[in-house]
């Protein structure tokens, strides 16, 4: 463990186990996961599909309840969704009957706040990700990458302390994915929030993160945590350096060894 | 044209065996069912006795049960049952065959399909029962008029579902067949027909219900030939409501049985299909 700051972690996952079903059909998705997410860091959960990384993320977001163990967020035990935690999913989840702006403002409505108060901020965010011109377009008029950018604006609207990203770029093509990842890093830095990313893409995990938590499949458990020492902001050409490639190789080896 | 019970949760891809009937019964909703039924029966039994409603029109539950037993014991309705069911069966077979043929003839070519669509909409928009009195006037009170009406009513979904179903395969699937140099007939039998089958089966099932409706309508409207519809109307005109409810109960049981049988057949024939696939448009 490096000693960056000695503040308490933002999220503490303590011996979390998750089982689905019962009897013969019981399936252990997650087994005794211990994890600390530090304030301000970018952490990736890396693992093959079926390793329970999304389950872990859903538990950290309060969407699922842990069978055993606890999750602490900002020093309090987390049992339900929290408005300081923002989630992004594999799909952008844009409602097709709402314009981009209306989609971004959805949380405002749910929280029962005044939409007017949030329009300037929403527009600012849309501008930052470069889709301000599409604020009155409907999602089906947007490309997949643009939709995911709008979803990013939606999640950042309320300055979440913690961003939970469930492969938000999983459904995008390689090029869009790369620029979207840049966008994610930029905005995470801008919003000064902490991020947890779930992915099965090794390069992506290493490129994005300060630390990569490598997980094993069935039952999902933590294998090890890789520290990623590169400076920020990170540029795409980082990916061709030797140090980067070595780290990727190390992560790959860990995944294959299981 | 597909109306089926919804999956409350997304279907899992692996075909896991569902809970058994008994498990579901114990699963927590049984008491709601039992309570509901008990309340209905209690209400049915005691409300008519309060004198707030006409006792003749609203016999008590026990009186209705007695009438039901009397009807079952009397045995004279067997003949009507046979008349109704044979008409339904004949009309269903003719309707399905006719609808399927129309669907194939008009549905294999996209050009024809598009040209015929306005007419299909018109046929759908026309409430076909308007023809009932004419058919009865022309064919008389025998089984022919019932069958004719039921055929006219029930062929439609088979026709449309066949037509739409044949158009379901994707462009890539057609390309695959083309790359294999498949003949038109091969494309039809090996790609289009299997793809359409789930949807056609929905139409076939729907047709069964519509044939039943058609026969009942004709029986209620026409005067002399027997059948369950006729029986209902007769008892109703004698204000023998206990017997009316009994016949309706029989019709309900019959139709549920028919649907269950059709469901089983459907599941056997198109075992590979997901409901959702058939709904793709």
């Amino acid at each position: 463990m490096t000693t960056m700051t000695q503040t308490a972690p933002l999220v503490r996952v303590d011996g979390v186990t998750k089982r689905f079903g019962s009897g013969d059909k019981e399936m252990v998705a997650l087994s005794g996961l211990n994890l600390e997410v530090r304030e301000g860091e970018f952490l990736s959960l890396l693992g093959p599909s079926g390793c329970g990384k999304s389950t872990a993320l859903n538990i950290m977001g309060g969407l699922l309840e842990a069978t055993e163990g606890t999750v602490t967020f900002s020093g309090e035990q987390l049992t339900e969704p929290n408005r300081h935690i923002g989630m992004m999913f594999q799909q952008a989840v844009m409602f097709p009957w709402r314009t981009t702006l209306e989609n971004v403002l959805l949380p405002v409505e749910i929280f029962g706040e005044k939409k007017k108060d949030f329009i300037p901020k929403a527009e600012e965010l849309l501008e930052m990700v470069g889709i301000k011109d599409f604020r009155d377009s409907y999602p089906w008029q947007l490309s997949g990458g643009m939709q995911q950018r709008a979803a990013l604006c939606r999640v950042l609207l309320h300055d979440p302390k913690l961003l939970l990203l469930d492969e938000p770029c999983g459904a995008l093509d390689e090029f869009t994915r790369e620029s979207m990842n840049q966008e994610l890093l930029r905005l995470q830095d801008y919003a000064k929030s902490t991020a947890v990313l779930v992915t099965h893409n090794i390069t992506e995990a290493v490129f994005m993160s300060d630390r990569v938590a490598v997980m094993s499949a069935r039952p999902g458990r933590l294998v090890d945590i890789i520290e990623v020492p590169f400076d920020r902001p990170r540029r795409p050409d980082l990916q061709t350096t030797n140090d980067f490639i070595k780290l990727v190789a190390k992560a790959r080896q860990m995944l294959e060894l299981q | 044209m597909t109306t089926t019970a919804p999956p409350p949760t997304p279907a899992r891809s692996a075909p896991t065996p569902g809970p058994t009937w008994w498990e579901r019964f114990r699963g927590g909703s049984a008491w709601i069912v039992i309570t509901t039924v008990a309340v209905i029966i209690a209400f049915w039994e005691f409300f008519p006795q309060t004198g707030l409603v006409n006792r003749v029109l609203f016999p008590t539950f026990s009186e209705t049960v007695a009438a039901f037993v009397q009807l079952l014991g009397g045995g004279y309705w067997w003949d009507d049952l046979a008349k109704t069911m044979s008409a339904v069966a004949i009309a269903w077979v003719i309707g399905v065959a006719f609808g399927f043929t129309m669907g194939v003839v008009l549905g294999t070519s996209p050009f024809m399909r598009q040209a015929i669509t306005p007419y299909a909409i018109a046929v759908q928009a026309l409430p076909k029962v308007v023809l009932a009195p004419l058919l009865i006037g022309w064919l008389g009170f025998g089984p022919e008029s019932k069958i004719a009406l039921a055929v006219i009513i029930c062929f439609f979904p088979v026709w449309i579902d066949t037509m739409v179903g044949l158009a379901l395969p994707s462009a890539n699937e057609f390309k695959l067949m083309k790359s294999l140099k498949a003949s038109r007939w091969q494309v039809f039998t090996k790609l289009q027909l299997p793809s359409a089958l789930p949807m056609i089966m929905v139409g076939v099932k729907h047709a069964l219900l519509l044939a039943f409706t058609g026969v009942i309508v004709a029986e209620i409207l026409s005067a002399s030939d027997g059948g369950l519809g006729k029986l209902t109307k007769e008892f109703a005109s004698q204000l023998n409501m206990g017997l009316v409810y009994s016949v309706v109960t029989i019709v309900v049981i019959l139709s549920i049985t028919l649907v269950s049988i059709a469901d089983v057949i459907e599941r056997r024939v198109v075992f590979w299909s997901e409901e959702s696939r058939a709904r793709r448009k």
């Binding site: 998705a29 079926g50 390793c51 999304s54 859903n58 969704p81 929290n82 408005r83 799909q91 989840v93 409602f95 009957w97 959805l106 409505e109 749910i110 089906w140 | 044209m1 109306t3 089926t4 019970a5 919804p6 999956p7 409350p8 997304p10 579901r24 927590g28 909703s29 709601i32 509901t36 029109l57 294999t108 070519s109 996209p110 024809m112 399909r113 598009q114 040209a115 669509t117 018109a122 928009a125 409430p127 029962v129 308007v130 009932a132 009195p133 004419l134 006037g137 462009a171 057609f174 494309v187 009942i216 209902t232 204000l239 009316v244 309706v248 019709v251 309900v252 139709s255 549920i256 028919l258």
Partner: protein, 275 residues
């Protein structure tokens, strides 16, 4: 016949070669066949299908008859009333059952039985209960159209993507908010399908009910024309019903187009990771 499917060719601008030319061309062919069958070969009996001319001539006679407007109005009221009643109850019950798996497990089997039952069998009962008046027709039409709206509402409300549901949950949306902001809009295209089907069955319910016993309405009028062997007049009303059916169909279609403008929704349902 045209070559099989693959509609990869660019859209033909040439209307003369479009399928709709065939649609238009078919109309005179159908009329000619009707004329041939009734006038020349006489292979169709006149009590079933009169000649085109006689129907044409009958139009002003039927439409101009005393009190015709009242009969039309009466039937339309029955249809509209029955549709409004049946569709609202169907929608309401669909929402109610979709919000509780308990209620669904308990009552869905009963309500599903309505899919199977030919509701016309209830007509004699309804007449016995509330007579030949307009109320009975409305009730019959309502019963006829209830199921289609109910089941489409119920299944439509279940169509929301797991990810969208998770999003609402992560925002701590209430059940009501999820219903109004996510489930109902998602279900609308499917519900409109049910409304379309329900409208058709409501019309059928109203007509059958009038056939079985009524003191007025178009069905009643048809029976009168038939008993006086005025088949041409009867066919005029058939055409009228065709028009009513088409108008209802197009109206709902138009409302749907205006209201559910986002229909180009991609239906993707990657399940929430369950592992």
């Amino acid at each position: 016949m045209a070559q099989i499917a693959v509609d990869s060719s660019p859209k033909k601008k040439n209307f003369l070669r479009s399928p709709y030319m065939l649609t238009i061309a078919l109309l005179p062919i159908i009329l000619a066949a009707w004329w041939l069958a009734t006038t020349v070969t006489k292979s169709v009996p006149a009590i079933l299908l009169p000649t085109p001319e006689s129907v044409w001539i009958a139009f002003p006679r039927v439409l101009g008859a005393d009190g015709f407007g009242d009969q039309v109005l009466r039937t339309l009221t029955e249809i509209a009333g029955g549709f409004a009643l049946g569709a609202s109850v169907g929608f309401f019950l669909g929402v109610l059952l979709s919000s509780s798996s308990r209620l669904r497990a308990a009552y869905l089997p009963f309500l599903s039985a309505l899919e199977a039952i030919p509701t016309v069998i209830l007509a004699p009962i309804i007449i016995a209960w509330i007579g030949f008046g307009i109320e009975g027709k409305i009730l019959q039409a309502a019963i006829a159209c209830f199921y289609a709206v109910f089941i489409t509402t119920l299944s439509g409300l279940g169509l929301a993507e797991p990810n969208a549901v998770a999003l609402m949950k992560s925002l701590r949306a209430s059940k009501w908010q999820t219903m109004v902001k996510l489930r109902i809009p998602t279900a609308l295209p499917v519900i409109f399908g049910g409304l379309q089907l329900g409208a058709t069955t409501a019309i059928i319910g109203a007509i059958v009910s009038e056939f079985i016993g009524a003191t007025g309405g178009l069905g009643y009028l048809m029976l009168r024309y038939r008993s006086s062997f005025d088949t041409a007049a009867y066919w005029v009303i058939i055409f009228l019903f065709l028009v009513i059916g088409l108008v209802v169909y197009l109206t709902i279609w138009y409302i749907e187009k205006r209201f559910v403008f986002w229909r180009r929704i991609e239906v993707t349902r990657p399940d929430l990771e369950k592992q």
